[in-house]
């Protein structure tokens, strides 16, 4: 654990800053006009929320995989 490479501040905040820029751009774009600006504003805000969806989808699939592994172990034990 101790020898795992550490993230630099730049690495830690690369994605969070990109998300923050997308959010602020979306919020301001929507405020400055209607039509395509609203559309791009929604897209930017939805993009800024995608990592949550991705993280939880990943979590579900890994939980699913873990469940499958333990099931197959169980099957081996019982057979």
């Amino acid at each position: 654990m101790k020898h795992k490479p550490r993230n630099t501040l730049l690495q830690t905040f690369a994605i969070p800053s990109a998300l923050a820029v997308a959010t602020v751009a979306g919020l301001i774009l929507g405020l400055t006009g209607d039509g395509w600006r609203d559309l791009v504003s929604w897209l930017l805000l939805i993009i800024s929320l995608l990592p949550i969806h991705a993280a939880f989808a990943l979590r579900r699939s890994s939980a699913h995989r873990n469940a499958r592994v333990s099931n197959s172990r169980l099957e081996r034990k019982t057979s």
Binding site: M1, K4, P5, R6, N7, T8, L9, L10, T12, F13, A14, I15, P16, L19, A20, V21, T23, V24, L27, G30, L31, T32, G33, D34, R37, D38, S41, W42, L45, I46, S48, L49, P51, I52, A54, A55, F56, L58, R59, S62, A63, N66
Partner: protein
């Protein structure tokens, strides 16, 4: 690697620094926690205020004409007369225009400086001149709005919530500072489900917090600005309006039976500010005008400046223009902050995004409470170790 490369450096944040920011984060979130949760829970239905009101007052809105009441229709004097017939003995306080349909609203009260609780909001159709009766009252929404704005405590309640908003901003910034040491060895988006529930909660708190950070900062800051709105309006009236109407200084406030033509006043104002659409008129003696003027507030003429209002002060007796000046920067910031707080400027999709962001905020607050409370006392060193190690150490308590 040189020593002077803060962003690219792998320097470890010292225990003392982490301790300082941890304590800032803890107290700036713990103190306003109950209020912040209340604001989120009441704010969630308020996002859809318009939709809920429209659904409940279906019949009132469906028959309106498409010509916006801000652009034209029957004379304003006739509309005002129709409104006042319904409230005998009362005086007009505000007249507000719609940019979408022919709905025109008139607010009346017992006196020019009447309190909000004594006001009556009347709906009228500027295309037909018909009265649509008092605005439908939605008691649940009104209750939620008052709770969200001042908790039924008036100005002190607003300021208390404003302070909660400022503490929320401190909590957000300190949270971002602590995110750095916590994520030192973890990739972005880590949610560990195979560890203790506490580790999973920490990961969720960090991920959701950092993703919604910018939105929470914007809504927190604009909410705090709104909480201090009344003193800002007062100061505008006491400095700017007083300066514009210095010539009237010694005169007694105008009595309502001396009010002159609104249509003539509107024409005089539109001559000074051509091409602008009126949003509302503040009548003499109220919070939004002087004792002698119709203050006609016009929207900006471009989408960017649509939320920035410019008042034209028109002598309420003679209907002659006195002055038209843009509002001071602080009041303009206040006006821009309203849509950014309400999320009502980008149609239904934006409102849904607002609701999702609010739910995320609730989850960040909730996991925050669990992380702070579900532990034994005297474990500050453990918390620091937990942050320093990205949740692998110190969570044994």
């Amino acid at each position: 690697m040189t020593q002077f490369e803060p962003l690219g450096s792998r320097t470890v944040m010292s225990r003392e620094t982490i301790k300082f920011w941890y304590l800032v984060h803890k107290w700036s979130s713990l103190i306003p926690m109950a209020f912040l949760l209340m604001l989120c829970v009441t704010g969630l239905p308020l996002i859809f205020h318009d939709e809920i009101d429209a659904a409940m007052a279906d019949e009132a809105g469906s028959a309106l004409a498409e010509t916006p009441s801000a652009e034209g229709g029957l004379p304003l004097d006739a509309m005002l007369e129709t409104a006042l017939e319904q409230r005998p003995g009362e005086v007009p306080l505000f007249m507000a225009f719609s940019q979408d349909d022919s709905l025109l609203t008139v607010t009346t009260g017992p006196s020019p400086d009447a309190d909000g609780s004594q006001m009556t909001l009347l709906f009228l159709d500027r295309a037909t001149g018909e009265s649509l009766g008092p605005a439908p009252v939605n008691q649940l929404m009104d209750f939620l709005l008052t709770l969200h704005t001042d908790m039924f405590l008036g100005l002190p309640g607003m300021w208390a919530l404003g302070v909660c908003g400022i503490l929320f901003l401190v909590a957000l910034v300190s949270g971002i500072v602590l995110y750095a040491p916590f994520m030192r060895r973890l990739p972005f988006g880590t949610v560990r489900t195979d560890r203790k529930p506490r580790t999973r909660r920490l990961d969720e708190h960090n991920l959701l917090g950092v993703v919604a950070f910018a939105w929470m900062i914007v809504v927190g800051a604009t909410g705090a600005i709104n909480a201090f709105a009344d003193p800002l309006t007062d100061s505008w009236r006491e400095s700017e309006v007083a300066a514009m109407t210095a010539a009237y200084g010694a005169q007694q406030p105008l009595s309502p039976d001396e009010y002159g033509s609104l249509d003539a006043a509107m024409a005089a104002a539109q001559e000074a500010l051509p091409g602008r659409s009126p949003q509302f008129i503040g009548f003499p003696g109220g919070d939004w005008s002087s004792g002698h003027h119709y203050a006609i507030f016009f929207q900006g003429d471009r989408p960017v400046t649509q939320n920035l209002l410019t008042p034209a002060l028109v002598d309420a007796r003679s209907s002659q223009l006195t002055d038209a000046r843009t509002m001071p920067a602080i009041n303009q910031a206040l006006m821009m902050s309203k849509p950014l707080h309400f999320g009502d400027y980008g149609g239904l999709p934006l409102k849904i995004i607002w609701a999702v962001m609010t739910l995320i905020t609730i989850w960040v607050l909730w996991t925050g409470i669990l992380l702070l409370l579900r532990r034994r006392s005297g474990r500050l060193e453990r918390r620091i170790a937990e942050i320093q190690s990205g949740g692998t150490l110190g969570s044994a308590a």
